[in-house]
Symmetry: C2
Subunit: 226 residues, 2 copies
Amino acid sequence: MVRQNIKIAVDAVVFGYKDRNLNVLLIKRDVAPYRNYWALPGGLVLNEESLEQAVERELREETNVTIDYLEQLYSFGEPGRDPRNRVVSVAYFALVKPEHHSIKADTDANDVAWFSVKELPELAFDHLKILRMAKDRLKNKLSYEPIGFDLLANKFLFSDLEKLYTTILEKDIDRRNFRKKILSLDILEELDEKVSEGRGRPANLFKFNQKQYAKLKKDNFLFDIK
Amino acid sequence: MVRQNIKIAVDAVVFGYKDRNLNVLLIKRDVAPYRNYWALPGGLVLNEESLEQAVERELREETNVTIDYLEQLYSFGEPGRDPRNRVVSVAYFALVKPEHHSIKADTDANDVAWFSVKELPELAFDHLKILRMAKDRLKNKLSYEPIGFDLLANKFLFSDLEKLYTTILEKDIDRRNFRKKILSLDILEELDEKVSEGRGRPANLFKFNQKQYAKLKKDNFLFDIK
């Protein structure tokens, strides 16, 4: 039997919500192939670490970011997706709050930056394909799990939440219905703090109630925000 | 840098609907480790084939089955999940119609059989964990995509469809509502053929209308059967 000659890597699509836009964390490659191209952070899995540990290590090394939310996305294994030799990449999907992290390039990366998903540079390998799948997953999940809260600051205006949904879902939402639905779930805590937005009157800040959400989830309720 | 010493395999959870029960296709291992244990069909990926081709080849070799529906489930990569050396397995989820296939063990398998998911033997490796995840995925998908039709014969009674849903979802459904919802989607064709079931009067056979479903899907409708 022929020896298997396939390597295994992880790549991470790290989303952040920044300047009221969905952003993705990219590194500039310092090594061939695709030297100086922007790419998803990632790299080969070490013999003794789990796939999740590999993602966390690569992110730490290449970008200085630690993750708030991580889940496996999909494995990409077409022969030929890496010009050097065959690499199967297990792609992950992560959410972070950009304001909690100062990014810094190192190891295989000579730069790191947040890019709006609407203004992407040309990406190395099949990373655009991976990114697109992650965007679809995020859109999908947003409507049946409250992962939007992992993208917002800890305290936010209701209008921030609304804006996040319209931005990521890329469509307008029925604002009155959206407000009614979200508030009826009882997963938001209205704080005794107000801030002024533009010329409008001061609005209340909200906080996500993780505990109440966990309780609802245990009872198999349907989030279902569209 | 230390040489990466990890192998990459595929495993398939093949579901069939048989004797009005959800069944899964298992092989009996003819090789160590876990010799003579039942396991999911699968094996190492060859250097030149895609992951999907590897699944199809392994199924053909070990079970003689070809697949009607295939999608990637999840990659399992914990160090230690295989006692020999480290193997990352990309698991797939497949649906077949058992009556269209005569199963036959070969290569690494010395037996192959359909098992009701309610009466499983002890499984090799972490295959029970993989199977459980596949079952959850099937349950989930059933409510938002009409994949149930990939499990039924081409012609079926409405009661067969109902029974399939209650069996896989493991709960009773509101029969009147279910019928109303499914018929309103216009994805069933009522045939001019009747069969008798037990002591009831003869009932009409139905056929799934793939074309109408594709049209609905293009318009982003929500299947949403619960």
